[in-house]
Amino acid sequence: LDAKDWVDPDTHGWVLHPQTDDDWAGIVGQYAPDHPVPLAATIAAARANGCVSVVVENRYVDGDFRSDHAAFWSQRFEFIPPFVRRMHFFASHIEGEQLHRLPPNAGYLGYAVLRPLAAGPVGRTVVKPPPSLHSATLAVSADDVTLFGNRLSVEGAPFCQQDGEYFRCAHAAAWMCHYAAVRRGLVARQRTRMFVDATPAMLSIERPLPSKGMTLLQMQAVFGSLNQPALFYGLAKMPRVAGVEDPSPPVDGTGRAIPPGKWDTRIFSVVCRYLNSGYPVLVATDDHAFVLVGWYRDGDWIRFVVNDDQRGPYGIIDSPFEDERGTWQAIMVPLPPRVLLSGESAETAAHQTFRSLGAPAGALPQWTALAAGVADGTVSVRTLLRDASEYKHELLERALPEDAVRLLRLARLPHYVWVVEAHDRDARAAGNPCVIAEVILDSTSNDFRPRFDALLMPGLAITYPPDGGSPQAVPMGVGLWQSSLPLNIPEVPRRVRLAS
């Protein structure tokens, strides 16, 4: 990249209309000659959504790169511009004359910040997921953009590339989790420099700069300083969960243990609990970090959707056990600090309750059937973390009786709750209301003793007030109600999806 020509003082920007593969490859070659894959994957996502116009915003001041520049790149003897370009993708034909007043149906597909760094040009990026992920459950969030006075919005999973010297893959992976939380309103935004500044130097044998990346210990420290302390799962010791198969550790031909990253199927349920809740999941191999942003079912397999700083957004992992990035060693899930209870503990507690209530002689037949169903797997259990206010807000749209809605809306709940739903598999597969029973647990309680906030069963809804209050109950019918899980149609607002 020629620093002299990077910033043209005489123009606001320009519009490109690439038509052939060579046209698109030319854009990648111009901005990412050394490491083309992340930018190529970003552009591929835009093209999959029908991109025909690219607006290049000249001399854009990106707060993240400016922070990196001040901390590191400005120390270079050679000039590195502190400005970036920002590339915006549109599904409609845009002419330069329209830039000050874009049409309402411009078809905005997202943006990518381009840094003047040959080793890692792709900065803050949010592009719409490709249509091929239509049926995936994705941890996406909406991002608002202003381009020449036009207000635009895109929903996607944040992505950025490492720069090879200052902001490495571990920083990029942590940032992707952070920016997703920012856009969901969970934490205040921090500039990328803060990720480096917050890395405790004493936890590494390396000098801090040029950066050699971060250890997992350092990553936890960074997540803590971002107000997103991460749940840590070492694959060498995954938790057991009632109703989830415990695989037996295999050995190879010489009797040596095979690493759990090659066989432990509990990875799927742990990861999906958090993705279903909208939280990205960070995965560490021996030497690399990347972020899982979604999953989907492909026949009998679960595929993961991955944002990998070295490969771009919305990649597919066919199997974690054969991931060419390396053997998975650990999982980190940055969560709001007040979430103390793990999803695994919540799910086991709910499973036990479904079983217990159907066990006594003379139990309601529907309760007995539920207890049998969770035991033999014909009833599926799904667990997700919800903001209690959102949970209450959406109750009206879930085909629940009015008395139950009133009971739950007036219940005193913590900021976040774990929701465990028992699903009728056939009803779910048919797209019908599928929830047979539901447990709401206090996310501030402890894994030793999860605290129940509410329980919905056939014939009964009951809440358990805090501080020793008396349980409150109302009658329910025995019909099924709508799940609060996302229904995976990104183009349609959530409440519309739930009502349809």
Binding site: M214, T215, G234, K237, A289, Q329, E344, L357, G459, A473
Partner: protein, 59 residues
């Protein structure tokens, strides 16, 4: 035959669901133990970070 009214049936359900600890006692001992073991494994997993995991250098 004494058939319970809907109100009596509902009261019985409320009584069952009001005390989940008591309800759990209706499970066979071995099943209660398996749930306790699962909960313990979650707690143990929280303590499980091995030294080599924490020191993996991700770049």
């Amino acid at each position: 035959v004494n058939i319970p009214t809907a109100q009596e049936e509902f009261s019985r359900l409320v009584e069952l669901a009001s005390d989940l600890d008591q309800a759990a006692q209706s499970l066979p001992p071995e099943e209660r133990e398996s749930y306790a073991n699962a909960q313990q494994s979650v707690v143990e997993a929280r303590r499980s970070a091995e030294v080599h995991e924490g020191l993996l250098q991700l770049n």
